[in-house]
């Protein structure tokens, strides 16, 4: 189950980066490889057959690069525009994951919120992946329980 969910998130990120940013050369590594000092952390809550959240950790440089690619405009610092655009991308990736899993489970996602990456709570599914692309790396921390 954990492997399947991990792979679904990697595939969804790959598809979204490919279609929205025209970036197709993407690989993944375990989340421990992710290294970043300044980042935007976006949490997407999950409810339904799976419950918990996924935290998307976007380094500042990656975030600015993504928004530059989408808009064709210069962005030098993180502000409400950049955070909102990055939050929507996290929302889109998560939506694609739930669609891909929908044959076997029914889940919904909650609106994106900015958050802190640390989380000491235990989860049945607790894994992370570092997505490596030309625009920079991002880290997805998957924290989910199966509904009772």
């Amino acid at each position: 189950m954990e492997d399947k969910i991990y792979k679904t998130f990697v595939d969804a990120t790959h598809n979204v980066f490919n279609l929205m940013l025209n970036i197709s050369d993407i690989s993944d590594q375990p989340g421990e490889k992710f290294n970043c000092d300044r980042e935007i952390d976006i949490a997407i809550g999950v409810v339904g057959d799976l419950q918990g959240k996924v935290i998307y950790r976007f380094p500042v440089a990656t975030s600015l690069g993504i928004v530059r690619l989408m808009s064709g405009m210069e962005f030098n610092e993180v502000d409400a525009f950049v955070t909102s655009a990055i939050s929507e991308i996290a929302n889109i990736i998560s939506g694609n994951v739930l669609t891909a899993l929908s044959e076997n489970m029914k889940c919904d996602i909650l609106p994106p919120v900015q958050c802190e990456p640390e989380d000491d709570k235990e989860y049945e599914i607790k894994t992370s992946c570092c997505i490596c692309a030309a625009i920079g790396d991002i880290c997805l921390e998957i924290r989910l329980n199966k509904a009772a």
Partner: protein, 142 residues
Amino acid sequence: MLWKDSYELGVPVIDAQHKELFRRVESFLQVLRSETGWTEKIPKINETLDFMKMYVVEHFRDEEEYQKSVGYPGYEAHKELHNGMVNYVLEVLKKYEQSSHDEQLMQQFGGRLLAWLINHVAAEDQRIAEYAIKKGMGGDGR
């Protein structure tokens, strides 16, 4: 330039509307992100918002009509995506007016609109075109 030829669906009326939508959103973003003071930007921002409110609804309606005409099986789900965006636009506009033209709210709106529009046209709408072409009903004879 926001618009990319790869976004074309091969349905002339929808493609023309998409191009117009991208052109307006691009113009909106240029004003939104310009160095000019916020007060000076407000008239142009308001003008674009008025257009968006009207044009988005019209475009979504035409696109939904096209989906019905080709028997697109994802019609209901796609309509829900449209309704979600229309509701979001109306909610933001209401808050924007109530807040006397809050800039942060508009910056948030701009960021989300940019990502939503690109994903919607580059991914969601392409599924309609793929279906129509598969059924031999592509708008340009594909």
